[in-house]
Subunit: 194 residues, 2 copies
């Protein structure tokens, strides 16, 4: 018998991503968020949700572009800071000691120090309550060579991304590998179903 | 200098959620997916992406409802199976040894065995390439008492949810706590910015 906890945004785990945008004056900005996820395989698309009051909101509306920066756990202080401070009052890249690099595909910056980044052009804007969801087409994924395996595939153990939990607002690291997808479940397919 | 990996849906980490729906005949179905995330705080909403060919797609379109079931790592075999087999050919709850419970709020079932579930009514449908994104309003979160702390808050260490990686399609568990959000970043706010 389950206990009812009410109407809450309590799915977990959530990713911890840093969104890169440019302001009116070309000022690079970054904002940490956890409301997001991949939303299409082809074209590859990612969804993020941003409140209208955020600088990131108006920057995306104007430039029709953003980057998703996937930080490592060693960047936690800078990442948490980018979720607290506003680019309206601070140069967050400068304050956090990160280097903005201009994407060659979209009008948005990414952080040189973060190991994995996605360059996105705005595809859809969906109004949902207090948040606006931006759906971006991923035009390119760029990675540090140090986080790739021999097949040029990003490896999570080398990236060390951060996870967040909505109910108690904590950060976690990723633990051990549990197995390959589309594998262990074949036992049930094989024995119980034709 | 980052390496370009091309246009890929390679944000990470992704959640591993099991979506519960009813078919035309009242047959409970479940499907595992990783393309999803919270997309609004108020009203609390969650987005999931499903291909049109899936039974889950037509079930959600007809019933305007679904559940998000957050499984524990000990359910990995059942979870992987629910991402391989189709409800068009199998009773996946039965085959995986899970018990469908009818939600008292929406026309969708959830699995009694999974520790945390969200009952959602369909709010928006967004067409994005090969996937359709369903945005559901979370009408209630229900949890097993065993995964709650004294404040009735779900605790990730007690849930042991599963994470997936898009580039190499593996499952991972959640690791250790890195800290409280809106905390470590205050060091930068305090020292470098007014």
């Amino acid at each position: 018998m389950k206990k009812s906890l009410g109407s809450k945004p309590w799915a977990l785990p959530s990713p911890v991503w840093v969104v890169g945008t440019y302001g009116d004056d070309g000022q690079p900005n970054m904002m940490t968020l956890s409301w997001g996820g991949i939303c299409s395989s082809d074209p590859p698309c990612v969804a993020i949700s941003v409140r209208k009051s955020r600088l990131t909101y108006s920057n995306i509306i104007k430039r029709k572009a953003f980057t998703i920066n996937i930080p490592s756990k060693q960047h936690l202080t800078a990442v948490d800071y980018a979720g607290i401070a506003s680019g309206k009052h601070a140069d967050k890249f400068l304050a956090a000691g990160l280097t903005p690099i201009q994407s060659d595909l979209v009008q948005a910056p990414y952080a040189e120090e973060f190991p994995l980044i996605l360059e996105c052009r705005l595809l859809h804007t969906v109004e949902i309550g207090v948040h606006t969801q931006f759906i971006g087409e991923i035009l390119d994924v760029k990675a540090e060579a140090a986080v790739l395996n021999e097949q040029k595939c990003p490896v999570i153990e080398l990236i060390n991304p951060i996870i967040s939990t909505a109910p108690d607002r904590k950060y976690y690291e990723v633990g051990g590998c549990l197995g390959q997808a589309y594998h262990t479940g074949l036992k049930i397919v094989g024995t119980k179903i034709k």
